[in-house]
């Protein structure tokens, strides 16, 4: 996602150089100001943020829970691994038509797209994290008389936090992609909708203005995740 963002940003810069073909900063600025004044850009940002936030939360909650559960039960691991790999290898856009059929064209379908696009990343991160738990630390807990669920709570979950948080940072991008693809396919509002319409009308400056708004959302999410990480893992800043 960082690379994609970087490429977009590079595209914006290229636009500055080739103002005629790729839109101009003043044109982009114009649309930013216009959108700000009439509030449309905030409205689209709000819509997309809401979809992204819900998809992000649902996808990560589901993914992390499943990923950790796979550690807890080797049976679940055997059962689910093939499905997870299969789901992970489907391009998210290929699911869009199904999602629209099942969840309609409103908020739910965008949230579902976003959730689906996040869940596998979150699951794999949590599962890798759980497996990264030190077997000797686990043994130490058993030496104290711990039961499996205590080992899980006191060692496995905390050990996996680092992995879960790198997953969360990746998931910001995936959640946005899911929501915006959902809006591309079918919607009447949101940044994805704005980009899609403007793109079809060759209104490049408006595309860029909406892209900037999208990037702003991504940055805000990454910032919140970073704050949360420092809050939940206060020991981390000491060891680095």
């Amino acid at each position: 996602m960082v690379i994609v963002l970087g490429a977009w940003e590079y595209g914006v810069r290229t636009g500055v150089i080739n103002a005629f073909l790729f839109g101009s900063p003043s044109g982009t600025w114009h649309f930013l100001v216009k959108g700000t004044v009439d509030g449309s850009i905030f409205h689209d940002m709000y819509i997309t943020s809401e979809e992204t936030a819900l998809g992000f939360l649902l996808g990560n909650a589901l993914g992390a829970t499943l990923g950790l559960a796979l550690w807890y039960s080797p049976f679940l691991e055997k059962l689910f691994t093939p499905f997870i790999l299969a789901l992970g290898s489907i391009p998210i856009i290929a699911l869009a038509p199904l999602v629209i059929v099942w969840a309609g064209t409103g908020l739910a379908s965008k949230v579902l797209m976003s959730t689906l696009s996040v869940v596998v990343v979150a699951l794999l991160a949590a599962f890798d994290g759980a497996r990264s738990a030190d077997p000797l630390e686990i043994n130490l807990l058993y030496s104290m008389g711990a039961r499996k669920w205590q080992v899980f709570r006191l060692v496995v979950v905390p050990s996996s936090l680092t992995y879960i948080f790198s997953g969360l940072k990746l998931a910001v991008g995936f959640a946005l992609i899911g929501a915006i693809i959902g809006e591309f396919i079918s919607s009447s509002e949101g940044l994805g909708h704005a980009i899609f319409i403007a793109g079809n009308l060759y209104n490049i400056p408006k595309v860029f203005a909406s892209l900037l708004a999208t990037i702003a959302i991504a940055l805000a999410f990454v910032y919140v995740v970073g704050r949360l990480e420092r809050l939940l893992m206060p020991w981390r800043k000491l060891s680095s």
Partner: protein, 281 residues
């Protein structure tokens, strides 16, 4: 005093052999028919060259791995899967990075369901005893190796274990810190009635702390000699033990038994055994 032979056996290894990689084309016999017993209240140490299978013995007792053949018992119960209810200390302190020193020390109490307030109050006593007051709210990454190992000792002793499995817990520490922690271990062991299986390759440490020292051969590890240690001194003071009459004789004898195994090996290995200086002199 109860005659030694009548005391209950707390730790037992019975005819244990261990082969690593037996499904590969190069299986390695690491332990060859090892048997040992630690009776109630005994401090038994196993010394042996690096790679002879000392840590493997402990991993077997803790249930981390299963033996190729033979049986292991802790507190009379055969070891099947992860063992429970024993004190466990390794070269690595195994402090949990995400818990403060205090909550690392209360870890076992939390596992056993002691109320938080009570656990903290108890931890405070142990932290004080092990010279860690003022560090209770620090994270492990903020402490030196010696301090961390003290915290690990506090975490172990707060559960008042009657069986201790210790694998070179002090090997990474400087000499001074090591003597201090040896003494603290000896005091804790003397204060409670604990049965200890201690692993080390430091012969002086072994002789100063133990009732009995078992010498292992190089791989495949076998018990090649047993020494009952009798020293007329305060055994909780590692310095006085080192100065006691007879200490040097034990050390020399055991070194020789190790030396036979190591004389053919190069200086690198001797260094890793801390023997280089003694052999050079």
């Amino acid at each position: 005093m109860v005659a030694e032979s009548q005391r209950v056996v707390k730790i037992e290894i019975r005819n244990v052999s261990m082969v690593f990689g037996d499904d590969t084309d190069q299986p390695t016999l690491v332990l060859d028919d090892v048997s040992l017993q630690v009776r109630d209240g005994e401090f038994v140490t196993v010394v042996g060259p690096s790679g002879c299978g000392k840590s493997t013995l402990l991993n077997l007792l803790s249930g981390l791995i299963a033996p190729t053949s033979g049986h292991l018992f802790l507190d009379g119960k055969e070891v099947v899967g992860a063992s429970k209810n024993y004190g466990y200390m390794l070269q690595r302190d195994l402090l949990l990075d995400w818990r403060t020193i205090q909550s690392n020390v209360t870890l076992g109490l939390e596992v056993r369901g002691m109320p938080k307030q009570e656990a903290r109050a108890l931890a405070q006593k142990y932290l004080k005893f092990y010279g860690l007051d003022g560090y209770e709210h620090k994270y492990p990454s903020e402490l030196s190796g010696g301090m961390r190992q003290r915290a690990a000792l506090a975490r172990t002793m707060i559960l008042n274990p009657n069986i201790l499995l210790l694998d070179e817990p002090f090997v990474a520490l400087d000499f001074q810190t090591k003597l201090v922690l040896e003494s603290e271990l000896a005091k804790s062991v003397a204060a409670g009635r604990r049965s200890v299986l201690f692993i080390t390759h430091d012969v002086e440490e072994a002789v100063s702390l133990s009732d009995r020292v078992l010498v292992m051969s190089k791989r495949p590890g076998r018990i090649k000699a047993v020494h009952e240690i009798h020293l007329e001194c305060d055994r909780t003071d590692p310095v006085s033990a080192r100065n006691a009459p007879g200490f040097g004789d034990y050390v020399t004898t055991i070194w020789k038994q190790l030396e036979i195994q190591t004389s053919a090996l190069d200086m690198e290995i001797l260094k890793s055994l801390n023997l280089a200086e003694d052999i050079a002199s």
